[in-house]
C-alpha cells in the first residue's frame, strides 16, 4: 500500500517537473510547480516528516508560489518568444549529457545510504525539530533572520520606480 502511494506521488512529482520545463506559458509552469510541491509534501509524509510536509505547503506552495503567480500576472506576457534558436543541435547533445549528470549524482550519494529496507527511525515531530533548532542550530537560525531582512530590503529597493 505504501509502495502504491510512493509510486503515485513520484509519478506526480516527475510529471509536474517535466510539465514545468515543457510548458510554453510560464503561468502553467508555476501551477505545475505547485503540484510538484504538493507531491513533495506527500513524499515527506511517507518519510514520517509530517511537520515539514505541512510547512512545505504553507510556506512554499502558499506564499512563495503566490509571489511567483502575482509577478507573472503583473507582467502579463504572451507565450514564450521563439527567438534565435541557434542552439538547436545542442539540444540533441542534452540527453546523453543529462544521463551522464544523473549517473554522477547517483554515484555520489549512493555510497552514503544505509542498509535498504530499514524502518524509518525518526518521527519528524515539531517538538524534535524545535528542540534541535533552538539548541544545535541556534546560530544559523538567528543568521537566517538577518538574511530575510536583507532580502526584504533588497526586494523593496529593486522594485521601486525611482530610488
Amino acid at each position: 500500500m505504501i509502495e502504491v502511494m510512493f509510486f503515485f506521488f513520484a509519478a506526480l512529482a516527475i510529471g509536474a517537473a517535466i510539465n514545468v520545463v515543457v510548458q510554453k506559458h510560464v503561468l502553467y509552469s508555476a501551477l505545475s510547480l505547485i503540484v510538484l510541491l504538493i507531491a513533495m509534501s506527500g513524499l515527506f509524509i511517507l518519510l514520517q516528516a509530517d511537520f515539514l510536509a505541512v510547512i512545505n505547503v504553507i510556506v512554499y506552495a502558499g506564499a512563495i508560489m503566490v509571489l511567483f503567480v502575482f509577478v507573472i500576472m503583473l507582467l502579463n506576457l504572451p507565450q514564450d518568444e521563439d527567438g534565435a534558436d541557434r542552439l538547436r543541435w545542442l539540444k540533441f547533445l542534452g540527453v546523453p549529457m543529462g544521463l551522464f549528470l544523473l549517473f554522477m549524482i547517483l554515484s555520489t550519494i549512493w555510497g552514503a545510504r544505509t542498509v535498504d529496507g530499514v524502518e524509518p527511525r525518526l518521527v519528524g515531530s515539531p517538538e524534535a525539530i524545535g528542540r534541535s533548532l533552538f539548541t544545535d542550530f541556534m546560530l544559523p537560525f538567528e543568521v537566517t533572520s538577518l538574511l530575510i531582512l536583507i532580502a526584504l530590503m533588497g526586494a523593496v529597493v529593486f522594485a521601486k520606480k525611482e530610488l
Binding site: L27, L31, V57, A63, V66, M73
Partner: protein, 325 residues
C-alpha cells in the same frame, strides 16, 4: 472510514447550503423584512431550490476565458474548504482523522485556497474579476500572517498541535463554574483570530473583493451555474471551518456540562459544539448586516501596521508569562 468521510462531507455540503438560508433570514430580520418565506415553511426549502437552480442553469463561459483554469478555479476553491474538515473533531471520537499536526493542516489548506480566487479572476480574462482577485489575494495573504501568529499563544499554553489534544486541554473548570477555555487566557489572541478569519473568508467588513456595489460580483462575475454554486459553497465552507477552529482553540470545542441519561450524555458534546458554532455564525452574519465595508488601503494598513504588531506582542507577552511560571 469511507462511511465516516461520506457522512461528514455529505452532511457538510448540506449544512453549507442551509447556512445560506440562515444568513439571508438573519440579515432580513436585521433589516426589518421577512426574508425567504415562500418556498416551504419559513423558507426551509429555499436552499434546495437554489441548488436545483444552480444545477440546471446554463453555464455561460466567456469566449476569451482560459478553459482549463476556468474549470479548475472553483475546484481549487472548494477542495481546501472541505479538506479542512477532515481534521476537525465534532465530538469525543467524531473526527475523520486525528493528525499530529492537525492545526497546521487547516492553515495549509487555507493558504491553498488563495489560488482558487487568483486563478478564477485570471481565467475569466475580464476587468472586474482581475481587479477583484488581485485585491482579494493580497488581502488573504496579508491576514494569513496574523491568523497563524494569533494562535501561537494558544499553542504555547497547550503544547500540542493536534486538535483533539487542544480540546482535551480545555476540560474542567476553575473555581467550579468558570470553564477552562482558552479565551479567558488569550483574549487578545481570540480577537485577532476573529478579525483575521473574517478577512480570510472574504466576509464583510473585508469583502471588497466581491462587493456588489463596486465590482459587479468580484472574482466570480463570469461564473454561472454549478461553478458559481461551488464558489458559494466554498465561501460558506471557509467561514464554517474558521468558526470551528475558533471554537476548538478558544472555546473548548465540545466541552460542556454533561447531564442526563446515557444516550443524552453520548450526543451532548456534539450538541455543545454545534451550539457554539451557531453562536459564532450568528455573530458573523450580524457583522455582515451591520458593519460597513473597509476600503482597500485602510484594510492593508490595518492588517500590516496594527494587527501584525499586536499579534507579535501577544506572542511575546504570552511566552514571557509561560516562561516565568
Amino acid at each position: 472510514m469511507i462511511l465516516k468521510m461520506v457522512i461528514v462531507f455529505g452532511g457538510l455540503l448540506g449544512a453549507f447550503a442551509y447556512l445560506s438560508l440562515v444568513e439571508r433570514k438573519v440579515m432580513a430580520f436585521v433589516q426589518m423584512r421577512p426574508g425567504p418565506n415562500r418556498v416551504g415553511p419559513f423558507g426551509l426549502l429555499q436552499p434546495i431550490a437554489d441548488g436545483l437552480k444552480f444545477l440546471f442553469k446554463e453555464q455561460v463561459q466567456p469566449t476569451a476565458a482560459n478553459p482549463w483554469l476556468y474549470l479548475a478555479a472553483p475546484l481549487i476553491s472548494i477542495i481546501p474548504a472541505l479538506l479542512s474538515f477532515s481534521v476537525i473533531p465534532f465530538g469525543p471520537a467524531l473526527q475523520v482523522t486525528d493528525l499530529n499536526v492537525g492545526l497546521l493542516v487547516v492553515f495549509a489548506v487555507g493558504s491553498l485556497s488563495v489560488y482558487g480566487i487568483v486563478l478564477g479572476g485570471w481565467a475569466s480574462n475580464s476587468k472586474y474579476p482581475l481587479i477583484a482577485s488581485m485585491r482579494s489575494s493580497a488581502q488573504m495573504i496579508s491576514y494569513e500572517l496574523s491568523l497563524t501568529l494569533s494562535v501561537v499563544g494558544v499553542l504555547l499554553l497547550a503544547n500540542t498541535l493536534s486538535l483533539v489534544e487542544l480540546v482535551r486541554s480545555q476540560e474542567g473548570t476553575w473555581l467550579g463554574f468558570l470553564p477552562k477555555w482558552n479565551v479567558f487566557l488569550q483574549p487578545i489572541g481570540f480577537i485577532i483570530y476573529m478579525i483575521a478569519a473574517t478577512a480570510e473568508s472574504n466576509r464583510l467588513p473585508f469583502d471588497l473583493a466581491e462587493s456588489e456595489q463596486e465590482l459587479v460580483s468580484g472574482w466570480h462575475t463570469e461564473y454561472s451555474g454549478m461553478k458559481f454554486g461551488m464558489y458559494m459553497l466554498a465561501e460558506y465552507g471557509n467561514l464554517t471551518a474558521s468558526v470551528c477552529i475558533a471554537t476548538i482553540l478558544f472555546f473548548g470545542g465540545w466541552n460542556g456540562p454533561s447531564f442526563g441519561p446515557d444516550w443524552l450524555v453520548m450526543i451532548l458534546p456534539t450538541i455543545w459544539f454545534i451550539l457554539k458554532i451557531a453562536v459564532f455564525i450568528f455573530i458573523y452574519v450580524l457583522a455582515r448586516a451591520t458593519v460597513p465595508r473597509i476600503r482597500y488601503d485602510q484594510l492593508m494598513r490595518f492588517g500590516w501596521k496594527y494587527l501584525l504588531p499586536v499579534a507579535l506582542a501577544n506572542i511575546l507577552i504570552t511566552s514571557f508569562l509561560v516562561a516565568i511560571s
